[in-house]
């Protein structure tokens, strides 16, 4: 069985996954300890998924990636992106992938989740940051 973590505030239930790991990052983070706990949760789930040679996907806020929602949420979102890129390199020959979906604030969580599940199942796309919507166009993201 796979595992999915979605914060309560998102308002949708975590799906039951046959394989892999899905991690939706919390955006309301008030302390360094909370930020570290969030990254640690993602690490533990990702490691377990990698050990089973199964893919994983992170879901982050585009505003957080750009630093618009404060340092702590930016650290989590951008940290997850970098971690996924390293994981993508490590997993490729083993047949598992790692990707990130970045959503905009006004998007329907169920639609965001659907796209993330597509990535989780795809098997060819890896190390990608997939933006939903055009909010990243012209912005400083690499």
């Amino acid at each position: 069985m796979g595992e999915a973590r979605i914060p309560e505030a998102v308002g949708i239930d975590p799906p039951s996954l046959p394989l892999g790991f899905l991690f939706w990052a919390e955006t309301r983070i008030g302390t360094w300890e909370e930020a570290k706990a969030e990254l640690s949760l993602a690490f533990e789930g990702s490691r377990e998924s990698a050990q089973k040679e199964e893919s994983f996907v992170y879901i982050v806020s585009n505003d957080a990636l750009l630093g618009r929602t404060g340092g702590l949420s930016a650290m989590v979102a951008a940290g997850l992106l970098s971690g996924s890129r390293t994981a993508a390199v490590e997993g490729w020959k083993k047949g598992w992938t790692a990707n990130v979906v970045a959503y905009e604030a006004d998007q329907d969580p169920a639609s965001v989740l659907e796209r993330a599940l597509h990535l989780l199942e795809d098997g060819m796309i890896s190390g990608e940051l997939v933006h939903l919507g055009p909010g990243h166009v012209g912005k400083a993201l690499a």
Binding site: W32, L81, T86, E90, A142
Partner: protein, 232 residues
């Protein structure tokens, strides 16, 4: 204007050269921070031996800055460690240690010092090209990516008076890179268009630029100093 700059990880490696460069070429009093008690700071640097991941570490640095009785012009978050392993083999301890030092320490110190930085001042975070991904460095990549995220947030939150930028060094000839086996290091160099490792001085030069008025319209940027390695 004469003022103070804080450099972390200043007793060795790239941080030591950054601290020396600022001391010797800028109008700076340099507060050097490092955890290693066995190391000596360069003469002329105000030494603070402290653990930035521990409770009162950042407050101790803040006191040292206030003791200089000079305006705080900049903070250079350079301290960093590696604990490399493939994700499947990475331990909780190695993940936690790298996050604490590379990201938590920088966040906590910047929180403590930002109120002291005067208009025109700047924060420079030393990230790594590994923020773009690097085999065997899930923890390090994540910490340095987090530092890039923090940089973007600081650039917004501290504007318009204070700038924040990051530098992403590639393979630099330092204690850290000398720990890489020779054959692997040679392969890494072969993939660098400029065909060599960078020097700590070349990172220090970039730090000096980003602290100086020469970069007065640059904020929220990640400057990759990697000899073109990101292209190959």
């Amino acid at each position: 204007m004469k003022g103070t700059v804080v450099v972390t990880g200043a007793a060795r490696g790239i941080g030591r050269v950054i601290a020396e460069t600022l001391l010797n070429t800028g109008p700076f009093t340099v507060v050097g921070v490092d955890i290693a008690p066995e190391l000596a700071f360069t003469e002329g640097i105000v030494p603070v031996q402290v653990d930035l991941t521990a409770g009162d570490g950042p407050a101790t640095v803040r006191s040292a800055v206030e003791d200089t009785a000079l305006p705080l012009l900049g903070v250079v978050n350079n301290a960093g460690i590696t604990r490399d392993a493939r994700l499947v083999n990475m331990t909780d301890e190695d993940f936690s240690a790298v996050l604490d030092v590379n990201l938590g320490g920088a966040y906590r110190l910047t929180e403590a010092l930002a109120p002291l930085i005067i208009p025109g001042g700047a924060v420079v975070n030393i990230a790594s090209r590994a923020y773009l991904g690097n085999f065997g460095q899930f923890n390090y990549s994540m910490s340095k990516g987090g530092l890039v995220g923090l940089t973007r947030a600081l650039a917004i939150d501290l504007a318009p008076d204070i700038r924040a930028n990051a530098i992403a060094p590639g393979l630099i000839a330092s204690e850290m890179s000398m720990g890489i086996p020779d054959d692997i290091r040679e392969k890494m160099i072969a993939a660098i268009p400029l065909d060599r490792m960078g020097t700590p001085q070349e990172i220090a030069n970039a730090v000096f630029f980003l602290l100086s008025p020469q970069s007065s319209y640059i904020t929220g940027h990640v400057l990759v100093v990697g000899g073109g390695r990101s292209l190959t």
